[in-house]
């Protein structure tokens, strides 16, 4: 069974230095891309809620070629601790 989407976002950030929302969605697309919940707004909500819960940090932001805001997030110690504790190793690359 797949991880819940929000957990999958945190789990993905565990394995990379940092990532913006487009990169997170691109990485999770093969597993979640076919679902109606797979929208930019929903994924923005996932990372911002994870940030509000103290598991990831916003590390930088800028504008992409289209003038859209691009926010980059990195996992922090609390987030890493949560993944270590609650996410089975089989879900990690």
């Amino acid at each position: 069974m797949l991880l819940p989407a929000r957990t999958a976002v945190l789990n993905y950030l565990y394995g990379v230095e940092n990532a913006d929302i487009a990169q997170i969605m691109e990485a999770l697309k093969p597993l979640y891309g076919g679902e109606r919940q797979f929208t930019k707004d929903r994924y923005m909500d996932h990372v911002m809620s994870l940030e509000a819960n103290g598991m990831v940090n916003l590390c930088s932001y800028d504008l992409d070629q289209n003038g859209e805001l691009r926010m980059r997030y990195e996992i922090n110690d609390d987030g890493r601790y949560a993944v270590d504790k609650y996410v089975d190793k089989k879900y990690r690359k």
Binding site: L3, T7, Q37, M48, L50, A52, M71, Y86
Partner: protein, 332 residues
């Protein structure tokens, strides 16, 4: 200004707008959760005025039939909402994780135990039960101190004392003709304690799960446990069948379930955007709305003790969970 400088300024402005929108959503949903919980409270009381609920024998059957149907209806509304946004499979996925299982423990504490106790309290002590149950923020701070190792500041301590003072004011004169008034107040305290524990479990388990899905699980589990475990134990199956057959009270409970669904959706959303402290303080305004609507629509007598006590408790609860001045301070 160089191009680089203009781009940075523009990115700063967009980032500020995104943060402002996120915070505004958190505050609005928190306040709306309080209003809709007040509406839910009144609608459940209205359902209880109809046969067979109004003449239900026994202490627990009526409240648990109401609570169970309300939560199950709320769960069904939320399932429809999550199905529409493509998140049905998220429920099974969430239950499969440890944080998801913590949500289940929290939902049993907050649903069958706290909600049942709240409705028994309402049945016995009327609108007086509402502000007492709002003491959950006080107990929430205490449990957060014990279990989540969060410190109690002077402001929180002050807020707690204000809450207790409010509870004393409300109980100063008990209404005439209600034998079980004190027992009703005790049940309201049980509700407050268990809701606070639910808050601890929901905070512990909910950070990694979509809050809309967590609320959906909470209401479905609560409704199913109420109707299929507790109602048979308290001998309420006949009453449950009678309520469903009667139609009108079941319709009121379906509407109250919708209100509860919106309220919980907003509350969990608020907690996960502006933090549990602010979310909880905005949510407890239901104590004010509940009493206000009871006075407006159900003929609840307006006594000085209930009005002053309600305001004092809500103020104390806000003080426990946040510095009231923060509400007026501009975000960064």
């Amino acid at each position: 200004m160089s191009n680089q400088g203009m781009t940075t300024a523009s990115a700063d402005a967009k980032m500020a707008a995104v943060n402002k929108k996120f915070r505004t959503t958190g505050m609005t949903t928190g306040a709306f959760s309080g209003l809709t919980y007040g509406i839910y409270t009144v609608l459940v009381l209205v359902a209880g005025y109809y046969e067979p609920l109004v003449s239900a024998a026994g202490l627990l059957a009526g409240p648990y039939v109401c609570s169970g149907l309300n939560d199950l209806f709320a769960g069904i509304w939320l399932t429809a909402y999550n199905a529409k946004s493509g998140r049905i499979r998220e429920m099974g996925r969430s239950l499969n994780t440890f944080p998801g299982k913590m949500i289940v423990v929290g939902s049993i504490l907050g649903g069958p135990i706290a909600n049942g106790a709240y409705l028994v309290g309402l049945a016995m002590a009327g609108a007086y039960a509402i502000p007492i149950s709002a003491l959950c923020s006080l107990f929430g701070a205490i449990f957060a101190w014990i279990f989540l190792k969060q410190k109690i500041t002077k402001r929180v301590m002050m807020g707690m004392l204000v809450c207790v003072a409010g509870a004393i004011i409300i109980n100063w004169t008990k209404p005439e003709g209600s034998d079980n008034f004190t027992l009703g107040i005790i049940f309201s305290f049980v509700a407050a304690i268990c809701w606070a524990l639910e808050g601890v479990f929901a905070t512990y388990g909910g950070a990694m799960i979509d809050t809309d899905v967590a609320v959906n699980l909470r209401q479905l589990i609560s409704g199913i446990v109420d109707l299929f475990v507790i109602v048979p134990i308290v001998g309420g199956l006949g009453l449950l069948g009678g309520t469903l057959m009667a139609g009108i009270p079941a319709i009121w409970l379906a509407v109250s379930g919708l209100s509860a669904a919106v309220s919980f959706l907003c509350w969990y959303k608020s907690n996960s955007t502006v933090g549990c402290a602010v979310g909880m303080s905005l949510n407890v305004t239901y104590a004010f709305w509940g009493v206000f609507f009871c006075i407006l629509f159900l003929g609840q007598a307006v006594t000085p003790t209930i009005v002053i006590g309600s305001f004092v408790i809500v103020f104390g609860a806000i003080l426990v969970t946040m510095n009231p001045l923060d509400l007026f301070r501009k975000g960064e």
